[in-house]
């Protein structure tokens, strides 16, 4: 009897972690679990979920910190059996304020009052667009490298991209890209697989320049990710058991593994 209850409690916890894996740090475009930000995700006897997280520095921007906390709460709330979710940020300049706002279910503007002049939609969109660009250029570069014709790629529809036969790496990059494709809306006449940040079609003759130009977005994110991971390790004793259950590290595209 007790073992049955244990196993279902473990299942619920695993479900929570799987939901948390879908939440990304907006600047780094990597899951908060792979970044080892989440230190606790427990389910109590009343099906209330308690999440705790910390960030690489005391000074990490309030807006991103709040976004991640809010996204974690929303992601976990989607599980039908969850009664309540509490999210606590630790060791941060705005910890008290953010935790109080989260506990009362306030949004960012309500939490910060006069210190904010709006909510986080614009900020979120800015970084989703960067994620879109980064994922798109990684996929395009891979497809060109594996012999796809630029003229064909720029004409390709979303359905054709979905059906395209690609290798394993290509498949992973495609999935990641398609997760962000809807950030950019098409012009009404187009259902092209690849459009720029304004929704306009790409040109075959300038495709390599386009990919090259957006490389800086990728380089910046990769650099920041390495910095954040390093600072987190410098700040916290990472030998303390972290419950990154099922938290497989995502493989960032672009810079090769030998840099890691």
């Amino acid at each position: 009897m007790s073992s049955m209850r244990d196993s279902s409690a473990a299942d619920r916890k695993a479900e929570v972690w799987r939901r948390l894996e879908t939440v990304t740090d907006p600047e780094l475009d990597e899951p908060v679990t792979a970044l080892e930000f989440v230190t606790r995700a427990d389910v109590d006897a009343n099906n209330c979920v308690h999440i705790e997280f910390r960030l690489p520095t005391y000074w990490c921007a309030a807006n991103f910190s709040f976004l991640m906390a809010d996204d974690m709460r929303s992601a976990v709330k989607e599980l039908p059996w969850v009664a309540e979710v509490s999210v606590m940020l630790g060791e941060h300049m705005y910890a008290d304020k953010i935790n109080a706002g989260l506990a009362r279910g306030l949004n960012f503007q309500e939490t910060f009052g006069a210190e904010a002049d709006g909510d986080l939609d614009e900020l979120r969109r800015t970084f989703l667009l960067k994620a879109f660009q980064r994922r798109q250029t990684a996929l395009l570069a891979h497809l060109v490298e594996t012999g796809r014709d630029a003229a064909r790629l720029v004409e390709m529809t979303l359905d054709e991209l979905a059906d395209l036969e690609v290798d394993e790496a290509g498949s992973r990059l495609r999935t990641r890209y398609l997760e962000r494709r809807s950030i950019v809306s098409d012009s009404p006449t187009s259902s092209r697989a690849f459009v720029d940040a304004d929704g306009d079609p790409l040109q075959a003759e300038t495709l390599s320049t386009y990919v090259r130009t957006l490389r800086r977005v990728d380089v910046n994110a990769e650099f920041n990710s390495a910095l954040c991971r390093g600072l987190l390790h410098a700040r916290f004793d990472m030998d303390t058991p972290l419950s990154t259950k099922g938290g497989r590290r995502s493989e960032p595209s672009g810079i090769s593994a030998q840099d890691m």
């Binding site: 921007a61 090259r212 990769e222 390495a226 810079i255």
Partner: protein, 347 residues
């Protein structure tokens, strides 16, 4: 002074150094403690193990330690002292112009003393800037836009008050504005690291040079984009450079992007002392080559000529340093005595 294997001398100007007091005795509150500990995390994360200091040493080092680390053990010929006040976190300030001035006084041939201002200080601040400029004749200012001041958590260069201060600074002979972005700017819902305001003032103040510290990181991508369009925007290498040890692959990508977008004439070396020390940074930098696959992508190559520009020539141009004359001054003050042996090394 760095000397290559062929005996070629490279004059080094360190674009970013601090003489701070972050010690517990000077801390006003938890933010002061967290500030120096955050710097220490950068230091301990990115320094080679042999170069790591204790938190105690890191929090407050003396003038001789700094002098020797930069100029005797390290290859710096000159260093720019960049103030960071943080009056809300530290009783006597973290790293004030006055504190730096005492350092310069004992080694005038070694240091370039920069001033600072905060547009939120209003008329009193303008007066202080004026006094500072009369007293020290600085050619540059360092601005930290995320400094906390009372209820304010920071400012933007496009604020009306910022314009007033930039106009005044220019009138008082300032040429170079070093901008350091930080995480807290009101309104908090916007991206505090956004570099768009630098773009705006660089256009408005064509006779000022804007040196964006840390190359705009964590917004290197946006920085590259604006720096390529503004002729008076430069990038300071501090924070990016130490990656050369822990993550050379990332450093290769960053430096090749910078060379691609802003070019070799607009990148400035900075150790960010005491976060990092010049000796190992420059040893690694001089030995560094951009890997072939990265060069293939960007066309960027880190030639000896480019290294010389980054390490000293670019800063010398911005600060009007006559390198040959300066070498003589340093030599006369005994600054190259420790090099004597290698100067007269066997042919």
């Amino acid at each position: 002074m760095y000397r290559t294997a062929n005996g070629e001398e490279i004059f080094v100007i360190d674009g970013h150094t601090h003489f701070w007091d972050g010690s517990p005795a000077n801390q006003k509150n938890v933010h002061g403690k967290q500030f120096i500990e955050c710097f220490y995390a950068y230091h301990s994360n990115l320094s080679p193990p042999s170069e790591k200091w204790t938190l105690d040493k890191f929090s407050k080092y003396d003038a001789k330690t700094m002098h020797d680390d930069l100029f005797v053990h390290g290859y710096d010929d000159m260093a720019i002292l960049q103030p960071t006040y943080l009056g809300d976190f530290y009783k006597n300030g973290f790293n004030t112009t006055e504190r730096n001035a005492a350092m310069k006084k004992s080694h005038p041939e070694r240091f370039i003393l920069n001033s600072a201002f905060d547009p939120r200080d209003g008329a009193k601040g303008l007066e202080a800037l004026h006094e500072n400029c009369e007293k020290y004749h600085p050619k540059g200012v360092k601005l930290y836009t995320a400094e906390w001041k009372g209820d304010s958590k920071g400012y933007k260069l496009t604020d009306k008050e910022s314009y007033k201060f930039l106009e005044a600074a220019q009138k008082y002979g300032i040429k170079n504005v070093h901008v350091h972005k930080g995480p807290t700017i009101i309104p908090l819902n916007r991206d505090a690291f956004d570099v768009a305001d630098i773009d705006d003032v660089a256009t408005s103040f064509q006779d000022l040079n804007f040196i964006v510290e840390h190359c705009g990181l964590p917004r290197l991508d946006d920085f590259c984009w604006i720096a390529t369009q503004e002729t008076n925007v430069y990038g300071g290498l501090a924070v990016a450079l130490p990656f050369i040890h822990t993550r050379p692959g990332y450093f290769a990508h960053v430096i090749s992007e910078l060379l691609f977008w802003i070019g070799p004439d607009k990148i400035l070396y900075g150790s960010d002392y005491g976060i990092w020390t010049p000796k190992w940074l420059i040893d690694k930098f001089m030995a560094f080559e951009i890997p072939e696959d990265v060069t293939k992508e960007t066309g960027s190559v880190l030639t000896l000529e480019t290294k010389k520009k980054i390490l000293g020539l670019n800063a010398a141009r911005l600060y009007g340093i006559d390198i040959e004359a300066q070498k003589k001054k340093i030599e006369a003050a005994g600054g190259y005595a420790h090099l004597a042996e290698s100067v007269h090394a066997p042919e």
